[in-house]
């Protein structure tokens, strides 16, 4: 056992850089002890270590709080000068106070993130930041100059390992309107990608997760986009065999609806007139027939709702002169 002395020795925490401060910010044990000469070594019961004044008594009102809690730390009742209470109150009493309160230690506290501390963080980070380019002041301009958007997720978790297998997934989003595609190329591209294209927002989403690393997945996604683009511009021989069932949109020309309408109209007109082709051309040029064509196309492409059905009804009434 070390020999006791009447001299009080101030227990400092771990020796750290700012030795000039008497009150150490990283003080682990939060008490100061003075051992008297008279206490016997073995007798624990009567040997009471004198507890010093808590730090809260010595804090000036205008102190620098960022020095008391410079980084995230558990709650220290002797370093926080607030009369907080936490816990369920006992019957006829109040919540337990902050001394030796485990509930206050359990919860995360943000005493190290006061506005003054955050200001200091910002000042420290400023030298590493660059200005936002002034030319990119609207979303539309950002989309115009940077049409491809890549989304990746980085994970932080508690534990000895940094790795998370979900971190390798890469989502690549691009609007087809920003790509240089003609009508055929656009239709072919949409057929090639299938469900990855959203018609409402005109965004093609390529999600890659087959490679083990994020960089590999990103390269693969860019490669897929390039290949899709070039392939959709090529015209293969078998594309000439495209049937009506393969068409993406309804077109009225050479459809059963056109044939039926023209038959009905020719039969409605004078029966003797055998015009044949000319009569059909003349009929097609009429405004009502064009209206009917528009309404049927709209109905087939957009589906049935109030607007389209109303338009169809009006067009039919006009065409059949009801």
């Amino acid at each position: 056992m070390a020999s006791y002395s009447t001299k009080a020795f101030l227990i400092l925490g771990r020796i750290n850089i700012s030795r000039s401060r008497l009150q150490n910010a990283t003080n682990r044990a939060t008490y100061v002890s003075v051992l008297s000469m008279n206490s016997p070594t073995g007798n624990r019961a009567s040997c009471r270590y004198q507890v010093g004044v808590p730090r809260t008594e010595k804090m000036p009102v205008d102190q620098d709080w960022t020095a008391v809690y410079p980084s995230a730390a558990p709650f220290r009742p002797n370093a926080v000068p607030l009369p907080v209470r936490m816990g369920y109150p006992i019957k006829g009493g109040v919540a337990p106070d902050k001394k030796a309160n485990l509930e206050l230690i359990k919860i995360p506290n943000f005493l190290h993130l006061t506005p003054a501390a955050i200001k200091k963080h910002c000042e420290a980070l400023k030298p590493f930041c660059t200005e936002w380019p002034l030319a990119l002041d609207t979303d539309a301009k950002c989309d115009e100059h940077f049409p491809i958007k890549v989304q990746t997720t980085h994970f932080v978790s508690a534990g000895p390992s940094l790795r998370n297998p979900s971190a390798r997934i890469v989502h690549l989003k691009v609007k087809l309107s920003s790509l240089n595609l003609d009508d055929h190329a656009r239709k072919k591209m949409i057929k090639l990608v299938g469900s990855r294209y959203c018609k409402k927002t005109d965004i093609l989403t390529i999600t890659t997760d087959s490679c083990p690393l994020r960089k590999q997945n990103y390269d693969y996604a860019m490669y897929l986009l390039t290949v899709l683009y070039h392939e959709s511009w090529k015209i293969e021989g078998w594309e000439a065999e495209k049937t009506v069932a393969d068409m993406e949109e309804y077109s009225w020309e050479n459809s059963p609806s056109q044939r039926n309408l023209l038959d009905t109209l020719t039969r409605m007109k004078v029966v003797e007139e055998e015009g044949g082709e000319e009569v059909r051309q003349q009929l097609l040029g009429q405004a009502e027939v064009q209206e009917y064509k528009d309404s049927v196309t709209r109905l087939k492409n957009e589906g049935e709702n109030e607007d389209t059905l109303l338009q169809y009804k009006e067009a039919v009434k006009k065409v059949l002169k009801l």
């Binding site: 070390a2 227990i11 682990r28 044990a29 939060t30 008490y31 002890s33 051992l35 624990r44 009471r48 270590y49 507890v51 995230a72 730390a73 558990p74 220290r76 009742p77 002797n78 816990g87 369920y88 006992i90 337990p96 001394k99 030796a100 309160n101 485990l102 509930e103 230690i105 359990k106 919860i107 995360p108 932080v156 978790s157 508690a158 534990g159 000895p160 390992s161 979900s166």
Partner: protein, 156 residues
């Protein structure tokens, strides 16, 4: 589980008869009411169903979130750390140990009674920190607070 009197009577008559209407009393982490001289800390006074209502969690880490892995490893680490602390600071612990994790850093917060001289405390803190850090290959920090007596919430 404890049985009530009715069940015990049936067993000693011969054979084990399963009787409906017998209720089992839950004994998990509950200190039974005594004469009124048993001091209880806040932790001991509240049974486990109060966790999330009147009590917090002693150990918090991201592995318990949905879709995160490593929960079993963190739990075994916690169990070991609690036993280690109980044994190293024998008789000095005033309350349960709180374990926090931040990235790969493990912070062990403990409340101690002022039973040992401070030099011994410092030695034990340094010893625990270095041993646990080497053991888990992660920085382990101890945050010790000392009190004169065990904090009493109520007497049972």
């Amino acid at each position: 589980m404890s049985f009530n009197l009715l069940q015990q009577h049936l067993i000693c008559n011969g054979g084990l008869i399963v009787v409906f209407g017998v209720f089992f009393q839950n004994r998990a982490a509950r200190i039974r009411v005594g004469k009124g001289d048993k001091p209880l800390t806040y932790e001991q006074a509240h049974p486990p169903h109060q966790i999330g209502h009147r009590k917090g969690w002693l150990s918090q880490h991201t592995s318990n979130l949905k879709g995160e892995g490593g929960a079993a490893e963190r739990t075994t680490e916690d169990v070991f750390i609690r036993r280690f602390m109980f044994g190293t600071f024998h008789g000095c612990l005033a309350n349960e140990i709180v374990i926090k994790r931040r990235g790969n850093l493990i912070i062990v917060c403990a409340l101690m009674i002022q039973k040992l001289p401070p030099q011994k405390f410092y030695f034990l803190i340094g010893y625990s920190e270095s041993l646990l850090s080497h053991f888990y290959k992660c920085p382990v920090k101890l945050e010790i607070q000392t009190v004169q007596d065990r904090p009493v919430y109520k007497y049972i």
